[in-house]
Symmetry: C2
Subunit: 409 residues, 2 copies
């Protein structure tokens, strides 16, 4: 908390003092998404490669100086972060890539990368003395908020579009959240949640609106860099819906570059589903972002009207990266590929980064001699119906060994 | 591997040399489950509280000297173990217990404690140069074997009873396992797998039969003790199906007592579902174990004919513990309780230990001034259907704020 200089609007670039209590830019309104600005010179004195190597807090809070939180509640939260980064030699070989790393963020406490943002939301709400947190979500933000809030004794009201998979909804009901299922798309769900949060005065966990949350998501990039001993890959592939995660990934690497812990920011590959790809379309056609269909089975990234466009577009632009789309069939194939080659079970949006990486290699956007990482953003157990689509069925037998022997022989 | 003295039969007590390649006791046959015997004097010289405190390997392999594995493959496996242990003050208050700890083993790579056994199975198969592993399972052993084997490039053939939940089956299909779904109960499934393993010469991951696997499961107890700085709780509550997990929990604490790292073994509460409780019945009626019905929604512990009876019965007897049963309704209630009070989402068998603890407190078997831990053995995402039964449904609304305002006001 001591290292925050203030806020800066991603639209008008206006700066605001850290002690103001802001969600979005007072000048630009709800589209004026704010970024947090740090005093890197002072962080540099406190945080070094050596100090991190000596730090035994193996959770996202090892990076607390890079965030806007006070220390007082951090030892009581769920254990978020420090998920495994696997060197995926078998899969790299299948793809024709020299080196591939898989960051399995589905092993976070509620099963997705969103825990990194939700943990911050709960801590910030507690700091402000607020007792209820509201949010809208395609699913994972909801369940992660519900779980992290339950752990800290904070109440939640959560808005989900009716298409959210049963697994994700069941999870947040078990966590004791008050759940509002909206007969509409994500845009309508988001709008309704904003009205309710405003009306009832809850803390707002909508990730695009709340500038603190991307600061939690960026810890996935901090971990990738530290787990690779600060030798970052050429590319990092990230699935993109609302734009907050890819924005966070860029911010994490940006922080490390400012601190001199890494020498360059990896090129970021933004991967969208073909059936919902507003960022890709804007980039490919050099046009402003337009609302898009939400027509993909990867529900976590089915966001037709992204709420965090500037951070997402900047992540690719400023890292000299690229955008790509993949079909639902390619996403399902990637579930099977990742699971069978490396033992990592990702949900559809969780393997979309990998599907994009594969396609970028085929298209020659990425070369085989390069190194790459991809983030499995959510656990495959969250969406069993699509896993069943991706897999062949079992062999069904009677309890009769002779019959079985014939089948297996 | 250097610290293993040999095997000892749990039935006839006969000892066998470590270099023999045994599953069960040559004298007693398939019921002669073997235990691994260690040279604690030599482990004591190598492993101390201080050496562990300095050990940066935060996975089950930090305890490799307590296992029967060689080192060569351990850095390539999935990251199994070192799951969080939460101090659950809110839940302790609700139960009227002084101190309660929750070990969330659902955060293992494939979502259950069984990863601790499967990781060993894969490492042992590799040591023996075997290319296929076979097993039968109610679900979690299967998916954990499939995931851990996929990571290491080993093939699997897995037998599941047809009642195994879709989530667990989907998971192992994604991991690329060859899955045999048997139209029968767990007993028939197990028998069929044993015949096939024998006939085709696969490595055997059936936990009761393979004495190395309990040595993996025991790491959950080693972690609980180390995470509590060697000050173990009065009670540890464990859900019980086949009997291997509770046997492993006892073995872990037994090891630590031999090494002088803890002063006593916690009393172990074995918790079974009322609809499938052969251990409870044998204990309560002081009778030999009899086959039982498999009539519970907690599929992971629906084992009517447990394969590891001696280790399970000894765990309770030698720790001065107790057995208890809980109804399916109590199990569903515990899912909601654990989720809403602490943000931990367990599958039915994963919260059965907690349900038993609650009942034991009500019955006066455990006193409120005592300390207890319970192990959430599996992730709730594995069994969404039962989670939906345990939870109240969402509030369904149209995207209309006026309507919503009335509901929330």
């Amino acid at each position: 908390m001591n290292y925050v200089l203030g806020y800066q609007c991603t639209l008008c670039q206006e700066e605001y003092q850290a002690d103001l209590d802001l969600y979005t830019c007072p000048g630009c309104g709800s589209k004026g998404i704010l970024d947090i600005v740090y005093d890197y010179k002072r962080i540099k004195k406190k945080v070094t490669a050596r100090s991190l190597a000596a730090n035994r807090n193996y959770s996202m809070w090892r990076y607390a100086p890079f965030m806007t939180v006070r220390d007082e509640n951090l030892d009581r939260t769920l254990r978020v972060g420090w998920t495994p980064l696997y060197t995926a030699n078998r899969l790299a070989g299948q793809l024709g890539l020299q080196t591939l790393y898989i960051k399995d963020d589905g092993l976070n406490p509620t099963g997705s990368l969103k825990d990194r943002a939700s943990a911050i939301a709960v801590v910030k709400a507690l700091e402000k003395g607020m007792e209820i947190i509201g949010c809208s979500s395609t699913g994972n933000a909801a369940s992660s908020l519900a779980g992290n809030a339950a752990r800290m004794g904070v109440k939640t009201v959560i808005f989900v579009p009716e298409r959210a998979p049963a697994g994700k909804v069941a999870q947040l009901l078990i966590y004791g959240a008050r759940v509002i299922s909206v007969s509409g798309n994500y845009y309508q769900t988001f709008e309704l949640s904003e009205q309710a949060i405003e009306r009832f005065g809850w803390y707002n966990r909508n990730c695009a609106i709340n500038p603190h949350l991307v600061e939690g998501k960026k810890t996935v990039a901090l971990e990738i860099a530290e787990q690779l001993n600060w030798d970052v890959p050429d590319w990092v592939a990230v699935s993109v819906g609302d734009g907050c995660t890819i924005g966070g990934v860029y911010k994490g690497f940006y922080d490390l570059l400012q601190l001199g812990l890494i020498e360059r920011i990896p090129r970021i590959l933004g991967v969208q589903a073909e059936g919902c790809c507003p960022f890709y379309t804007a980039w490919a056609e050099s046009q402003p972002l337009e609302p898009a269909e939400e027509n993909t089975l990867a529900d976590s990234i089915a966001v037709g009207v992204p709420r965090n466009p500037v951070k997402a577009l900047n992540a690719v632009k400023l890292s000299n990266g690229a955008w790509i789309t993949v079909t639902d069939q390619e996403i399902l194939a990637a579930m099977k590929t990742l699971g069978s080659a490396e033992g990592v079970f990702g949900e559809p949006a969780g393997v979309t980064g990998l599907a994009g990486l594969k396609k970028a290699l085929v298209k020659g956007m990425i070369e085989g001699r390069e190194t790459a990482a991809t983030i499995a953003t959510g656990n495959g157990l969250k969406d069993i119906q699509n896993a069943l689509k991706a897999a062949d069925g079992p062999i069904r037998v009677q309890p009769d060994f002779r019959e079985l022997e014939k089948i297996l022989a």
